[in-house]
């Protein structure tokens, strides 16, 4: 089935949820789950795998999203490691970089969505 704006909306919700989960780990509200940083188990990663790739697997944006998402996940993992070592403020300051990755992914999603709408 072709991707609709509803699908992209889902991706955005999943992205915000990832950031919120990471932030809650860095504020000691929640323990980190290993699946949070796994491309295969991360909700956005799963969405890429099951919804996007079958429909738009050939698009360069899809590969780029996967690459940036992988970077965002490993950065998130580093921040949690830093937090558990007691570098509380430093790890929180790192959320800035997560935002940069997330904005990049958002730009790519937007481009994909525009392409889908135009097709």
């Amino acid at each position: 089935m072709a991707l609709t704006s509803f699908d992209f909306q889902q991706a955005r919700v999943k992205q915000v949820l990832f950031k919120s989960r990471l932030r809650s780990v860095l504020y000691g509200v929640r323990e980190a789950e290993p699946a949070l940083f796994s491309l295969a188990h991360n909700p956005l990663g799963q969405w890429l795998q099951t919804s996007v790739k079958p429909a738009l697997g050939g698009q360069p944006e899809v590969r780029e999203i996967e690459r940036v998402l992988q970077q965002m996940l490993s950065k998130g993992q580093d921040l949690v490691t830093s937090y558990t070592r007691g570098h509380i403020e430093e790890s929180r300051a790192g959320l800035d970089q997560i935002n940069t990755f997330a904005e990049h992914i958002e730009t790519l999603l937007h481009r994909l969505e525009q392409g889908t709408a135009a097709a």
């Binding site: 509803f6 889902q10 949820l17 504020y27 509200v29 929640r30 007691g86 509380i88 403020e89």
Partner: protein, 463 residues
Amino acid sequence: MAQPPGSPAAVPYFYSSSGFANRQPAFMPAPPASDSPVDYQRLFRSLPDNFLLMKHDATIVDNTDGHVAVSLKSREEAVGRTLFEAYPSTDQNQGDIIAASHEHVRQHLEPHAMPVIRYDLARPAEQGGGFEEMYWQATHYPLLDEQGQLEYILQRTQNITEQYRAAQEAARAQVALAESQDRIRFVLENLPVLIWTATAGGDRDFFNSRWLAFTGRTAEEQMGEQWSTSIHPDDRERVLASWKKSVASGELYQVEYRLRRHDGQYRWILVRATPRRDAQGTINLWVGGATDIHEQRQMVQELLSANETQAVLAEQAYQLYQKAENQRETFQSLLLQAPAMICILRGAEHRYEFVNPNYQQLFPHRELLGHTVEEVLPEVKDQGIIGILDKVYQTGETFHGDEMKMQLERDASKALKDSYFNFVYQQFRENDEPAGIMVFAFEVTEFVHARQALERLDNAPGN
């Protein structure tokens, strides 16, 4: 500045900054007197200091050369007169101070120092001219006779510029230090942060008033390790272990824990402390700051809950959407394949939204979708069809057409053909409002023609 009585006057060659001792007239021993090998009067006058000797009533008896030099008045002009006559005061107050000092000496037979006065001496032209700021102090000493009665008052005037300046400097430094300490204290007390300091050994030795106000404890109740009694019991062990580790290693101390507020509520705080090191690198102080992050933490928690709920709802909505989409596709394919002519007209203008292939076959040469009935089937207007559609749309009453005749252009020939249909015009509603009409039709032209042919046969003459 006017010259105060009894004080030195400007004699630059004598009191210049090059120093007192160097300019002191050399001591020249007098020829021995009959009963003494020393000329004491000459010795007195040559003393390297500014002395003025008076009787108890202030009548001047003698003075040293130093005094002559700084007072700018010859000995002859002074001796025999009172101090007040020889060196008139610039004002009554000055005179009163001297008289009071004399009186003190007379009464108590003890030395009396007068307040320090400023009296600037002219600087020699070769040193730049002008005046040099100088400070002086005069002291009156009692000299007693053999019966212990006051015989003379000895005035000694000292140049205390150096000491005075040093004292002034020390006072200024003290004020600056006090100001600096006051400033630091003000900053510590008024920053919106809970602040403490600890010794190198890890004992807390200062808490700012915000900390004390927050915990509702006195400084004495928090000193040393007592502060840890305000930590939430579940966090205490972890916090103390972390603090001890930092004290031992000198690493930055960073920890989050719940601190009991004065009202008994535990609040999450973030604490950060840095060691201060001396020139040798040895830690001599820890300074720590804590901020209340309770609300922030709560907000993170609430946002997470909201985002998780939203994700679940979005997932459900997405599932429903996919289900609806699948159903829509199913119904659409049923309608497309149905062995009847079906179309959906949307809105009061009856715009084609859906047309199945059977319906489209009626008008193979016309583009129906997206156009209104009136636009693409202009021939039906005069046949009352638009009126029927309008009525169905407005009233919601279903219209059943039974072998209804229409004249339609069914190819691009411009010729109208009689066509008969059994059909239904049925209003459909959305959000409780009329939304359009569904048309469901069978063409019965051949059937009608056959029946008409039969009827003609039946009615034919001879039957």
